[in-house]
């Protein structure tokens, strides 16, 4: 038996023996320096082996399918029909018809864009743009809903977010007065007064102009200009004085406001 073992070791290439002895040296080094037992080192080596197999399996199950799927799909090429030469009368007629349809569709799409002034408000970035047709008239910062959900016990809840979609200007007011709703008192920890109590009315806080979008939502001015560009409102859109004035003068009742 010893002879067989000796014969086998002698058959191993010199390089492999060198690697093996280096490996043993490495193990001994780790043993001496880190006071780790040989069995633990072999356990670690086993863990590395398991990890390698796991990686191979991940590659087989996660990455190889994608590669194969990409490879098996044939690419479609339009077969040119000899009977349908590109200079034939039929081809020219079909091409003309398609081009005509495209032009008509383009016109219909163009008509979707309001010819007069309209406003676009980005509630994620708190920015606005004022357009006339395709022309950008003014862009700048505004403030929109804070996404605060105010809870007053289990009974009352208010969500302070700016609605998204297409709106129309329904009202225009100069020197607007803010009639504080219930949530304004709840938010400040104050008792809710009666419907027309004098504490509900605040003057000057909405700026010089207000444009109503319906359901109580307004585009108005603000005293807190440092918050422009931030989501801090209760759902209304706040603007600075100059922008608000331009918007007020440009937009008419029925003008479109797109909020997203």
């Amino acid at each position: 038996m010893e002879n067989i073992k000796h014969y086998v070791t002698r058959q191993v290439p010199v390089e492999a023996q060198k690697i093996y002895s280096l490996l043993l040296k490495g193990i001994r080094f780790i043993q001496d320096h880190f006071k780790i037992s040989r069995s633990l080192i072999f356990k670690l080596l086993f863990a590395v082996k398991v990890l390698a197999i796991t990686i191979i399996l991940i590659i087989i199950f996660l990455l190889v399918p994608e590669w194969i799927q990409h490879w098996v799909v044939p690419v479609n090429k339009v077969k040119s029909d000899l009977a349908f030469a590109e200079d034939s009368v039929q081809f020219k007629k079909d091409k003309k018809n398609l081009e005509k349809s495209i032009t008509q569709l383009d016109k219909k799409l163009e008509r979707q864009i309001p010819a007069s002034y309209y406003m676009v408000i980005n509630s994620s970035e708190n920015e606005f743009q004022l357009y006339k047709g395709k022309q950008l008239i003014r862009d700048g910062m505004c403030s929109t809903g804070s996404y605060i959900l105010l809870q007053n016990g289990d009974e009352q809840k208010w969500m302070f977010k700016t609605p998204k979609g297409e709106f129309k200007i329904r009202s225009k007011t100069t020197s607007p007065i803010w009639k504080k709703p219930d949530w304004a008192f709840v938010e400040e920890g104050l008792p809710i007064p009666s419907a027309n109590h004098h504490t509900r009315f605040e003057y000057g806080v909405l700026g010089d102009y207000a444009l109503g979008l319906g359901q109580g939502y307004l585009i108005h001015g603000t005293l807190y200009k440092r918050f422009l560009g931030l989501p801090v409102t209760h759902g209304c859109v706040r603007m600075n004085d100059e922008d608000l004035e331009l918007v007020y003068r440009s937009l008419n009742i029925g003008s479109k406001v797109f909020i997203y």
Partner: protein, 272 residues
């Protein structure tokens, strides 16, 4: 001598036993791998056939658009016409929709036909299936808006902050909320639309470790989900479903804006 022979025979038996076990293990793994990879490779072909069949089954449409297959030039024109028809169809709805135009590399939010936000597509990958389908199929699929049926993202749709009503003015002053616009989580978005078309929108910014980590986690989650579905289909002896993917690389800010603006089941039009 007899003892040595017995020992050698025993060792030989042990060795052959080990080799047999190894052969069985390798054979088992090969069978599992083939059993997995063969259906997986059939999946896109099945999807391709299904899509082509769906489009060609509509005889009215086929008759109307049969010229597409006659010339590449007419195919392109028909595709453009289909895209514009889809846009017009989307404009009839009063909710915000998504327009993906690879010809001018823009990803836009559209409402009532008005483009309200346009983001530049910095890079993209379109699944080979979209170039393998018949031109008629392509025209049929994209001449009307697709609907987003399922979506997932690394950012929240509505960043809601719950606040409890203060008991008095002093508590209200303590609760004063200061918004933090600097906090922007890495944005990766996945949307599955009609015909199982998957749109993956990834942010181009990969500067921070957090960006990379969330990006890798998003990809891994997608892979795992896909693999789990595939394995489940194979176990039920079915060819797994294949989702043709359109992958877009856009700026993170644009993804956040687009994802938060899109309503549930939003419409999408695609032109490539």
């Amino acid at each position: 001598m007899k003892k040595i022979l017995q020992r050698i025979t025993q060792q030989f038996k042990e060795l052959t036993g080990k080799i047999t076990v190894k052969i069985w293990v390798i054979a088992g793994i090969t069978i599992i791998a083939l059993g997995y990879l063969v259906p997986v490779s059939l999946a896109p072909v099945k999807t391709l056939k299904h899509l082509n069949h769906f489009a060609l089954a509509d005889s009215v449409f086929t008759e109307q658009y049969k010229i597409i297959n006659k010339s590449p030039e007419l195919a392109l024109l028909a595709k453009e016409k289909g895209f514009k028809e889809a846009q017009l169809s989307m404009a009839k709805s009063d909710s915000i929709g998504l327009k993906i135009n690879f010809k001018d590399s823009t990803l836009s939010l559209v409402i009532k036909g008005v483009t309200i936000h346009a983001a530049e597509i910095k890079n993209y990958k379109i699944d080979k299936v979209f170039f393998a389908i018949e031109n008629l199929t392509s025209a049929k699929l994209f001449s009307s808006p697709l609907n987003i049926q399922h979506e997932s993202a690394t950012i929240v749709k509505e960043p809601i902050i719950v606040k409890h009503a203060p008991k008095d003015a002093a508590e209200a002053a303590q609760q004063a909320y200061m918004p933090d616009t600097l906090q922007k989580n890495p944005a990766f978005l996945s949307m599955v639309c009609t015909y199982n078309i998957q749109l993956i929108v990834k942010q181009v910014e990969k500067e921070s470790f957090k960006d990379k980590k969330i990006g890798i986690r998003f990809d891994f989650k997608n892979y795992v989900q896909k693999t789990a579905n595939t394995i489940w289909s194979i176990l039920r002896l079915q060819i797994p479903e294949y989702k043709p993917v359109i992958q877009l690389y856009v700026s993170g800010d644009d993804i956040r804006t687009i994802y938060r603006a899109l309503p549930r089941n939003a419409m999408v039009v695609i032109y490539y």
